[in-house]
Symmetry: C2
Subunit: 278 residues, 2 copies
Amino acid sequence: MQGDCRCVKLDPMSTIAKALGLLDLFSDAHPRLGLSDVQRLTGRDKATVHRHLVALERAGFLEQDAATRAYRLGPALTRLSGIRARTVPEVEMVRSVIDVLSRDVGELVHVSRVQGFDLVHVHHAEEHDHPVRVAFDAYGLPPLFATASGKAYLAFSPGGLLELAIADPRTCLPGTPAPDRREIEAELKQIASLGYARNRDALRLGVSSVAIPVFDGASRAFATCSIAYPTGRGGKGTEARLARLLMQRGRDITEAMGGVVPPHILDLWTPSRERAAS
Amino acid sequence: MQGDCRCVKLDPMSTIAKALGLLDLFSDAHPRLGLSDVQRLTGRDKATVHRHLVALERAGFLEQDAATRAYRLGPALTRLSGIRARTVPEVEMVRSVIDVLSRDVGELVHVSRVQGFDLVHVHHAEEHDHPVRVAFDAYGLPPLFATASGKAYLAFSPGGLLELAIADPRTCLPGTPAPDRREIEAELKQIASLGYARNRDALRLGVSSVAIPVFDGASRAFATCSIAYPTGRGGKGTEARLARLLMQRGRDITEAMGGVVPPHILDLWTPSRERAAS
DNA sequence: GGCAATGGTTCATATAATGAACCCTTGGAT
DNA sequence: ATCCAAGGGTTCATTATATGAACCATTGCC
């Protein structure tokens, strides 16, 4: 154990950043924290922490339970989040998350909303490190069963939808036979257990992709996010690596659009978090 | 004009409070603000404002449009607000707003949720200044048509609901004749144009009340908030005064529960705001 | 080409954040 | 009943941090 983790003189955090950082300690797993909890989690002085908590409370970002004296997230967040939801268009909401993801993976990232049985473009980002990359093609309007996105959507939607999708001719590539019911069901089941859908050379030769669903406020899938990459790139581990990165961001993407990821999916996507907090 | 509004040495605002205060400048009417806008609105130094904006942005509470360089509310608000919605029970959300309202008006304030055609208790607050006051009676389960709350709910719900409500025997006091259709419709229309419902001695002699609806995230009425007071108190102006105070808080109540007040109702409730911002 | 307005940065100065020590209350253990 | 530990909260001298006048860069306009 060399060095007791005393941070090596980063640029001194602003007081504001320190205070706002406290809000990030509150989570679904730990929605209520006392002064001591916060002090332990941050390692800062109790007096400082207390002043920060009070400042946040006065602004409505926290509120204190009169009985237990514990703090929890406050009503101002609901108010401001409402303003954001009403005034910022959907595209702008995902943009930041998607852009970062694209930069991290160096491939084309694509968010589409499901409307009826069509995928409609919401936003895409391509940060191309590689000379060979997948070009974005917004107007392809690929059918549900031909894309990883479509399958990701169906795999995380209630079963009734699949019936309708199979019946609808527009969900398959023109000229392709209607998909086999048993086969599709098996594939969707696998997707549901993996946490993501994949595609290899199905839509266009040489193009593969991985995709996950995006959930709305009632935890229903309503959109998808996918990464497209040249099939040849990187060998066997590529799909798994991209899928992992995508799933890691799954929560952020859904929440950026104001949605809620169902808990069991969250477990699939972020297997071993939440162990830092006591 | 005596004194040029140079604030008379209040306890020096913490940096945190100043920064968080900036977020309150963003509203439905002004969702995007540039550095200069913020500087003008606050009167603070440009450098200070800029540092605060950057700090808020780094924490995800604001984000900056790359093209226009304007700031808008950021994704962290959505994230945190989601945690709050999932972890804080409904009762706790309204509590603070209701408690303050009750203290302000000195009467019984009552929030109920509509389930089917029943009103179920969510939270009440009674800050009794007056020796004579209305005692809270949670288990009365009064029928829709006998209360201001019930009428407020119906008046701000789609028309089809009224049909069903009239047909249902449980919406009236036992032993009372079914309400006259035309009469009710006229009353609801008046309520919709006033912005609140009222009741005088209908449910219990000597008890009057005013009520407004509470809206959910899709701007549908789903609950109500009412003030009950002794009919005799304060003479003629009382109802109008209480109604005004109630409507002033209408937005806060709805937003505390994660809802959105429809714009035309908001105009009824807060007639002349939003004039400070240029 | 000059002017005004916007977004952003610098650096000496003064103000506001910090933390060790302190107090008060609660809830078990003994 | 008494003690002890832990939690929430406060004080005040010290110093680190936030501040703002002046400055630069870019854009749009007459």
